[in-house]
């Protein structure tokens, strides 16, 4: 007999395991934004990211019996999400000879800072050009704020792999964005002098 869970996600999971679709709706409302953010950054396309969110929550309902409560529900959820997003990337590459996101139509979202505002479209483009694995780890670590041990758990890889892929992604991004970064840095200096 399982003990009564206190964590809200766990309570909802157990209801889901009994076939309660209303519990899945609550899980969707709680986690949709983060799943969407991961999918959007990986695919760089709103429609593809929305399709992935749908696939993720359908899959969660069908596979909820596989969730063993050994780790947090969110770790399992993001693992499902990253697997589905990577499959989508592979499928698109196989079918069209290009990856999801290598087409125009980058999304418009809120921006945090002025520099982020200027750099955002270039950064989105540069992230989309990264190899899938390095891109995924950059998105999870530098954008979504996951730690290497969490990423290793999600992707079934070692922490060392996660670190080396992140290093590779950051180096490539800096290399590809160097002219833009220098330009923005100069612009910031001019703005500071004027202020």
């Amino acid at each position: 007999m399982k003990s009564e869970p206190t964590d809200q996600d766990l309570i909802l999971c157990r209801r889901c395991q009994r076939g309660d679709i209303n519990a899945l709706e609550e899980l969707y409302r709680r986690h949709k934004d983060k799943v969407y953010a991961i999918a959007l950054r990986l695919t760089n396309n709103v429609q593809d990211a929305e399709d992935i969110v749908q696939d993720v929550f359908v899959q969660v309902f069908r596979k909820i019996g596989d969730f063993r409560e050994e780790a947090a529900f969110t770790s399992w959820l993001y693992r499902v999400a990253t697997n589905i997003a990577l499959s989508a990337l592979r499928r698109r590459k196989r079918r069209w000879g290009m990856e999801v996101g290598q087409k125009p139509g980058a999304p418009e979202e809120g921006r945090r800072s002025e520099t982020g505002k200027i750099l955002k479209p270039f950064l989105e483009e540069a992230i989309a050009a990264l190899p899938p694995r390095a891109r995924l780890i950059f998105v999870l670590h530098d954008i979504q704020g996951f730690q290497h041990n969490e990423i290793a758990g999600m992707l079934d890889c070692s922490e060392g792999t996660s670190k080396s892929q992140l290093h590779k992604a950051r180096a490539q991004l800096r290399k590809n964005l160097r002219p833009r970064l220098n330009m923005i840095a100069d612009l910031s200096d001019v703005m500071l002098e004027k202020a």
Binding site: I21, D33, S113, T115, K120, I127, R174, L181
Partner: protein, 225 residues
Amino acid sequence: MGCATIKKRLWEYASGKLSPERASEVEGHLDRCPRCREALGQIRLLSAASRALAETPLKKDLWPGIQQRILTPAEPAPARRRRPAPLSGWRSRLSWAMGAASLLLILLIAGHELRSPGPQAPAVPTQTRLPEDARSDIELARQHYERSAQALETIVAHRSQDIDLDQALLYRDKLQQLETVISECSQALQNNRYDVRAQQTLFNAYDQKISTLREMAVVASYPSP
């Protein structure tokens, strides 16, 4: 400490993850090295831009689509077919012989089934329906099951004296267990009509009940000597 070592630590320094000792080492180097200061400036810009990308709320409500996909039965994916390796010599002849034997067996079984018609299993809905129709479909399937079960129960009741007593008691226990499952699942579906597991268990129980009744009817028709 050289630029190569410092550059490896700049990301951690920019995000404040370095220990105070390591951070002061990096700061000491930055005071002297314009190239590493430039690199740090780039890293800070990249970090700020990356954090800004995290703020991406989902604007569309995708729940209706998710709900519809869950409640609509999925169509079976077409199986992948492999081209069989060409057979030669005795294998080819054996393959033809086995095919012919299988066909003969199917015809014999079909002929037997046509001569002795039994109660029909309910038709499984194959068309994709909207979720609003799902409830009425489930009700329809239940009615079919109930009718088939009743017809079989009538047959079994007429021939019950031909079944061995021990065997009859076993059948009775099994049927009672299945009745309990059917009753519990029906109750669960009244509380939550979307309870997919309850639906699956209910129809499994109905399947087993009908199989058991059929078996009883056959055993009663052909009692062991």
